[in-house]
Structure formats: structure tokens, C-alpha cells
């Protein structure tokens, strides 16, 4: 427990001492506040063209995804720092070991991202979704964060590439949006994007039937496969 506490404090120091990471780390919180204070005015502003309220579930599901992505990005950058300065070598030759280090780097963004998912909706002023539905969606969103983090650590050569890849990763947000506007079974194809699953689960949360659980379990499966593959690659890369 002491180890985890010290690692956590260490991460917070590393994040708060770099303005870009601090901003990204607090980003989900700021985003939720922006939703609370600005979304109603934006809705009124666009009222003559489109009824945004009917798309609120999509907007809020993306808010959760962005929270997970930002947390994953921050962790990814910590990982890139640890790799550039070869700090991970120091960590893996302590009793923490390769396994402990990797596990911590997966769990840290998951916990933060889950925490954000739980508090983000009440902060943004969404009250009508029962907690029993929010927790599984939160878990799914939480799985996104380490995927993003490990993706950066495995494929970015440095932090500049990391930034570019983070934006590239954002392209995966297109399939769930396309699926949202498509009324066909073919929309399942969008499921290759991990983002599809929590978004669909969120959209189905209010409906009756088993669709919600289909998206939750489908999402867990897809995320687990991705996380497993990336973790293996990450461990191999450590040498």
C-alpha cells in the first residue's frame, strides 16, 4: 500500500510540475464544468437549427471518453518520460519488478479514469442515469485509459510523436459517431473502434432490453484483447 501511495505521489508531482500535463490531467474536470455551465446556452443558441437535447446522451458519452483519453495521454507521457530518461530501468531492477511496474502503469490511469467517469456526469449536471448503469460504463471507459497510455508508449518514438499519435488516436472517435447516425446492422462494424462500445452502452442505458449489457460485455472483450496485446508488446519493448 505504501508503495502505491508513494508511486501515486510521485506521479502527481511529475504531472503538476509540467503545465501541459497538469492541464490534460485536470482537463476532464474542466470539461465537465464547461458542460454544466455552457451546454444549456449552446443548446439555446442552436435551438433554431438543431435540437441538441436529443443528442445529449452522445455528447455526454463523448465527455466520458475524452476524460479517459486525457488520462491515458497523461500516463502515456509519463511512460515516454520514463523511457527517454531510461527511468524504467531503475524501477524494474527494484523489488517492484517489470510486472509491478507494468501493472501500476495500467492501474493508475484506470483508477483515475474510473473516478472521473463517476464524478463527471453529476458535475456536468446529468442526473437521470442510475448509478447501476454508470459504474459498468465507467469501468469500460477506465479500460480505455491504459490502452491509450500503452499505445503511446509502444508506438511513439518521443513526446512529439506522442502528441501526434494522441491526435491520431482521436480518429477512432469517428466510427461511433458514424454508427450513431446510421440505422443499420452494419453499424456493428464500428465496433473495431474501442470507443464504439462505451458510447453505445451509454446510449442504450436508458432503454429497456439487453442491448446495454451486450455493449458492456462486447466492450470488455474488445478492450481486454487490445490491452492484452499492448501490454505484451510493452513488456517486450522494455527488453
Amino acid at each position: 500500500m505504501k508503495k502505491i501511495y508513494i508511486l501515486l505521489v510521485n506521479d502527481l508531482r511529475n504531472i503538476l510540475r509540467e503545465p501541459m500535463l497538469s492541464l490534460a490531467f485536470l482537463g476532464p474536470f474542466l470539461l465537465s464544468l464547461a458542460m454544466r455551465w455552457m451546454l444549456p446556452s449552446v443548446t439555446i443558441y442552436f435551438a433554431n437549427y438543431v435540437d441538441l437535447t436529443s443528442h445529449y446522451p452522445l455528447i455526454f458519452s463523448f465527455m466520458l471518453l475524452l476524460a479517459a483519453m486525457l488520462t491515458g495521454m497523461v500516463t502515456g507521457f509519463l511512460l515516454l518520460d520514463e523511457r527517454d530518461d531510461q527511468i524504467y530501468m531503475t524501477l524494474i531492477v527494484t523489488p517492484l519488478g517489470k510486472e509491478g511496474y507494468t501493472l501500476y502503469r495500467i492501474i493508475f490511469p484506470m483508477v483515475i479514469s474510473f473516478f472521473y467517469a463517476i464524478i463527471a456526469l453529476p458535475i456536468a449536471g446529468v442526473g437521470q442515469i442510475p448509478v447501476g448503469f454508470v459504474i459498468p460504463i465507467g469501468l469500460l471507459a477506465a479500460l480505455e485509459a491504459p490502452i491509450m497510455a500503452l499505445f503511446l508508449a509502444c508506438f511513439a518514438g518521443n513526446k512529439v510523436e506522442g502528441l501526434a499519435l494522441s491526435k491520431g488516436f482521436g480518429l477512432l472517435m469517428i466510427p461511433p459517431i458514424a454508427a450513431y447516425f446510421t440505422d443499420s446492422k452494419w453499424q456493428l462494424l464500428a465496433g473495431i473502434s474501442p470507443f464504439y462500445w462505451p458510447v453505445q452502452a451509454f446510449l442504450a442505458a436508458g432503454e429497456s432490453g439487453s442491448a446495454y449489457w451486450f455493449y458492456i460485455f462486447g466492450g470488455i472483450l474488445i478492450h481486454s484483447i487490445l490491452l492484452y496485446g499492448l501490454t505484451n508488446r510493452f513488456i517486450k519493448k522494455m527488453g
Partner: protein, 284 residues
């Protein structure tokens, strides 16, 4: 303490073996130098010894247990200082040490005491990004001693240090030996190896060419002659004498009595000479 027998290792996808069956053993309380040019297999051997590469063949046992059978507790027993300082740039020296310290179950040194030992006592609260290269190297070195390990692996411990700090680090290494610690020293620096090591191994192209004490190597590799430099009528002259029976050599004794002697040196080889002689390679 460490026994290595017929150790072979090939990196995945590599055509050639990096280690071609090396053998050595290190006794408790010994400083063992591992010397060789870049790419000779020094780092690979060290990586195997510290448990980072496990796909080797042969025997590598540390404290009586095969490396493959050790779990993470192994890292309670060994301390490692890598060639390049691997530290969190945005944390202070104390924060870096306290982080690493928290991972150990056993007794640890006080970070401040270690910082003072290498002259960084008043720099503990500075962030690493404000440290010079030499300061980072010193911090990197003491990090390996934090958990009072029995075996210490040091990779170029004095590289980038000024002579005063290099001497201090060498004194600390010798002090650790006095306390019974076993030290595995990887270096290019023959002078450091000569000063510190009880024995050295020369490794080239994945093979150990020679293992012996620096003193023995220098005597064996040198010529048994004495060179005297003296001033004769205002001119500096150099003359060689055979070392055997030198006390009875009248020309030598006469020279000592009658001339103004400037220097007298036996012709031992340097470790570097021996390295080049025995391996046909330079230490680059």
C-alpha cells in the same frame, strides 16, 4: 557469490551469439572488473546477471541460486548503478531516492546520509533538471547503495566525474568492499580497474580472453628491466638494466652513486598494454 559456467546468449533475430560460452566466478567481498570494448558483451553479461535477460543457456548462479529461479526478492540483494543516470528530471534528488527506497522491504540507508557521502548534502532539494552531469552520476551511484545490497553492479562509476569526486567514489567502493560487499564493475577505464579490482576479466567478441589480478597481469606482461633516467654533463640520458640481480650489477650501482638520477622505473606493462597484447584489440 557468483558462478557463471558456459554462458551463451543470442539476441532474438540475431545471427551470431553475443556470448559464446563464458566462465568466471566471483568470491564474496571481491571487486571483479569486467573490461572490454563496446559491443564485446559486457552489458549483455550484466543484464543476465541482474535478471533482465533470462533466455540464456549455461549456468548463472548468484548466492547459490540460479538466476532463473530467483523472483523479485533478488533485487533486495543486489544494487545496480547504470552507466547513464536514470532519474526523474522533475523530482528532487531526495524525492528520487525516497521513491526507490519505498520499494524495499529490508533495512535502507538514510537518503540524506548517502547524499552527504558524495558531497550532495546541500543539493538534496534541487530538481535533477538543475543537476550537472557529474552530480547526476554521483546520485546515480548512491542509489545503488540505498538498500544496503550484498552485491553491487557498477557500470562506469567514475565516468564524467572530476578527479576529486572520482577519488571519493573509488574510496566509497573500497569501503564497501571492506564491509564485505561483492562488487561487479564494468568499465572501459583501465586505470580505475587497476586501482580497484582484485581481479579483472577481459572480454572481446563474446569470449573471455583472460582473467587475473591486475598486479599479476602487469608483472607477467612487462619486461623484467629497470629504466634509469639521469643527467650526464647537462644532458638527459636513459639507460636500461636487467631486473634480475640488479643489486650486483656494478654499472647500475656506479650509476646510482655517481650521476644525478631523475627517475627509476621498472618496465611493468599497463593493463591497457596487456589488454591489447592479449586481445589484439583497443578499448574503444
Amino acid at each position: 557469490m557468483i558462478v557463471v559456467k558456459d554462458l551463451k546468449f543470442t539476441y532474438p533475430k540475431a545471427r551470431e551469439e553475443t556470448l559464446k560460452g563464458i566462465d568466471f566466478s566471483i568470491k564474496e567481498g571481491e571487486i571483479f572488473g569486467f573490461l572490454g570494448p563496446s559491443g564485446a558483451g559486457k552489458s549483455t553479461t550484466q543484464k543476465i546477471l541482474i535478471g533482465l535477460l533470462k533466455d540464456y543457456t549455461g549456468q548463472v548462479s548468484v548466492m547459490g541460486k540460479e538466476i532463473k529461479d530467483w523472483n523479485r526478492d533478488y533485487y533486495e540483494e543486489i544494487g545496480i548503478s547504470f552507466e547513464l543516470p536514470n532519474l526523474y528530471q522533475k523530482l528532487t534528488a531526495l524525492e528520487n531516492l525516497q521513491l526507490i527506497q519505498s520499494f524495499y522491504k529490508g533495512e535502507t540507508e538514510k537518503p540524506m546520509k548517502l547524499l552527504e557521502m558524495v558531497g550532495l548534502g546541500d543539493k538534496g532539494n534541487l530538481r535533477i533538471s538543475q543537476y550537472s552531469k557529474g552530480m547526476k552520476m554521483r546520485l546515480n551511484f548512491i542509489r545503488a547503495l540505498l538498500h544496503k545490497p550484498d552485491i553491487i553492479f557498477l557500470d562506469e562509476p567514475t565516468s564524467g566525474l572530476d578527479p576529486v569526486n572520482a577519488k571519493n567514489i573509488k574510496d566509497i567502493i573500497l569501503q564497501q568492499k571492506k564491509e564485505g560487499k561483492t562488487i561487479f564493475l564494468t568499465t572501459h577505464n583501465m586505470a580505475v580497474a587497476d586501482e580497484l579490482c582484485d581481479r579483472v576479466a577481459f572480454i572481446v567478441d563474446g569470449e573471455i580472453k583472460m582473467i587475473n589480478s591486475p598486479r599479476e597481469l602487469k608483472v607477467q606482461g612487462g619486461k623484467r628491466r629497470v629504466t634509469v633516467e639521469y643527467v650526464d654533463h647537462g644532458v638527459m640520458v636513459k639507460k636500461d638494466f636487467p631486473l634480475d640481480g640488479i643489486g650486483y650489477d656494478p654499472s647500475f650501482v656506479e650509476l646510482l652513486q655517481q650521476m644525478e638520477i631523475k627517475t627509476i622505473h621498472t618496465q611493468e606493462a599497463t593493463l591497457e598494454d596487456i589488454f591489447i597484447q592479449s586481445t589484439g584489440r583497443k578499448l574503444i
